[in-house]
Subunit: 351 residues, 2 copies
């Protein structure tokens, strides 16, 4: 296989395996289950590496992703999302449940009742989503028991509770978000027990909050980004630059205005930019450089006084948010001298 | 074909045809050529509608897009990008030139010389890119002649000059950006003439700057977004909400925190947010509502006091930047009662 044309995503296989192994070991040492979020890589090969390292199953965001990973050999999937289960969605979930252990999220009694119409008696379990401070989806912790009771009435066994501490994606909030997470999950578990429902799983964990996760409360971790890292994690201090396992390889196409213009834009690396991010991505070879303008096929880089790499040179660009970048590509190119294409099978499986 | 599962992109075919026809008529009346940017739709069916309405050809951003549209029947493509032409890129461009008229952009003498190594004598023409104020790629106008002369020396015939007035994407900058565009192109054309090179094409035009484009200077327009419109154009005042032809259909999955949560996130509509945008998209049914939080599979909507649409209802969400949204989907669903899938053939063709 000849070298692909730029821009393409490159994966350093050794760093990837190290990242997977390091967290698997930590989870095993702590006696907590690891159920990585596969939306980051959308790639069955990488899901298998995680499972082989001891993950109990995979987390996904959509039924389409669940289908892709079950098809790819995963026997246990959790759709970490408050699905609104239509008749069509119910049929797809039932079909999946014939081949794998399947669970999904609920965050309202109405959602649980709707799901029960199509899934009662299927054996598919639910976890109640709790808002631990990110204020996206999820019920307040003390309402989790009522939603769990509604689910059981609707014929859906309740496995436990889960949250996403997304407010950990901020400088200096990592520890407090992890504390919020533990407090919310503990309160939600108590709310279930008050309804006579014992939560078998108490699930949390984003990549930034991992370091401070309270493994006395959590029984399961669902990080996604840790397999690759990205510029956001680099700037949060939660992935060291030398551990970043995925970059977008891009060609210098212009020196207009004394800056560097790369052929990787938002259609190759994504347009995500957290409030704390210093630009739209980072360059390991030029740590002081910043991507100051990003359009669909251009990353304009201020090199901060460094010599401009020549036109035609190929550089590694670390995306801000690796999940978004991967979702733009059909293939990850893996390895060093001889690059192997790994299919991003679940790309675009939004539904 | 049954209704697709949400989130999916829906195209109103009547609005699409009206948008295409309206601009084609205006260009014809003004005697300027229209070469729409096909990166917006990436869909050969829509390219054919534009060509049937009188477009002289299509603009694309990458060689991969050019291949997709030539394969789809387009006989004249311009890659509006300063390509760095490797041996592989040269072979692909030569192959395309056997089936279509092909041109591309240059913004440096070195880029022109590199391209000449592989393309001299192929008949493929170049246009010199000029910076008219967006400060992305392109040479200062008075340097255009030197780049053009380098291209001709390298064996690449020069068709003319082009610019992208991307700084028109700002409130109250539409008119001034269009004035900058005309001034830069006029100066660049003069710079070519000073080298004895007559520009046959003077090309500009983004969707926001169209209204004020100086059709005394420009001989060709390259807008993209006008076919669909989007929330950015809506908020700029350059597309009326009732002309928006593409929406993301999304299901209400949660009422957490008294807000509306839709199952369309950045992986369905893109994460783009211009500085002037009031949120991450707009809802025609709830004009005062704003998308206040966007993650990969969630759009959290503050409905500004309106009654919350019920869980399970399906709403239309207008993406901020339609080009980014389309690039996330394999299919556009077109029509009213019976939806037809149109393939987004050039999706992900970044290289």
């Amino acid at each position: 296989m000849s070298t692909p044309a730029t821009p393409y995503l490159h994966v350093d296989a050794e760093r990837l395996r190290t990242n997977i192994r390091r967290l698997a070991d930590r989870a095993a040492d702590a006696g907590v289950a690891l159920r990585p979020h596969a939306k980051t890589h959308k790639c069955p090969e990488i899901g298998r590496l995680q499972l082989d390292a001891g993950a109990v199953g995979l987390t996904v965001a959509t039924i389409g992703e669940a289908e892709a990973f079950v098809e790819g050999g995963c026997a246990d999937v959790f759709v970490g999302y408050p699905l609104w289960v239509t008749e069509g969605a119910g049929a797809r979930l039932r079909s999946l449940a014939e081949r794998a252990t399947v669970a999904f999220g609920v965050d309202s009694a109405a959602g649980a009742e709707q799901a029960g119409r199509w899934l009662a008696g299927s054996g598919i379990e639910v976890l109640v989503e709790v808002d631990s401070g990110h204020h996206r989806t999820g019920v307040p912790p003390d309402e989790a028991g009522a939603v769990a009771a509604a689910a059981e009435r609707a014929g859906l066994p309740v496995r436990g509770v889960f949250t996403f501490p997304g407010h950990s994606y901020a400088l200096d909030a990592l520890r407090s978000a992890a504390q919020d997470e533990a407090a919310a999950l503990a309160a939600a578990a108590a709310s279930l027990r008050a309804q006579g429902i014992e939560p078998r799983v108490v699930s949390g964990g984003s990549t930034p909050s991992l370091r401070d996760a309270d493994l006395g409360v959590l029984t399961e971790l669902r990080p996604g980004v840790y397999v690759f890292g990205d510029a956001q994690q680099w700037e949060l201090g939660t992935t060291a630059p030398q551990d970043v396992a995925l970059t977008c390889r891009a060609t210098v196409v212009s020196h207009a205005g004394g800056r560097l213009v790369l052929d990787a834009g938002s259609k190759a690396i994504g347009a995500d930019r957290a409030a704390y991010a210093t630009g739209w991505g980072r360059l390991p070879a030029l740590p002081d450089a910043r991507v100051v303008l990003l359009s669909e096929h251009h990353a304009v880089v201020d090199v901060a006084g460094a010599p401009l790499p020549p036109l035609g040179s190929v550089l590694d660009l670390v995306p801000n948010h690796v999940c978004a970048a991967v979702n733009l590509h059909d293939v990850l190119w893996v390895g060093e001298d001889r690059l192997l294409p790994w299919a991003v099978t679940a790309r675009g499986r939004n539904a």
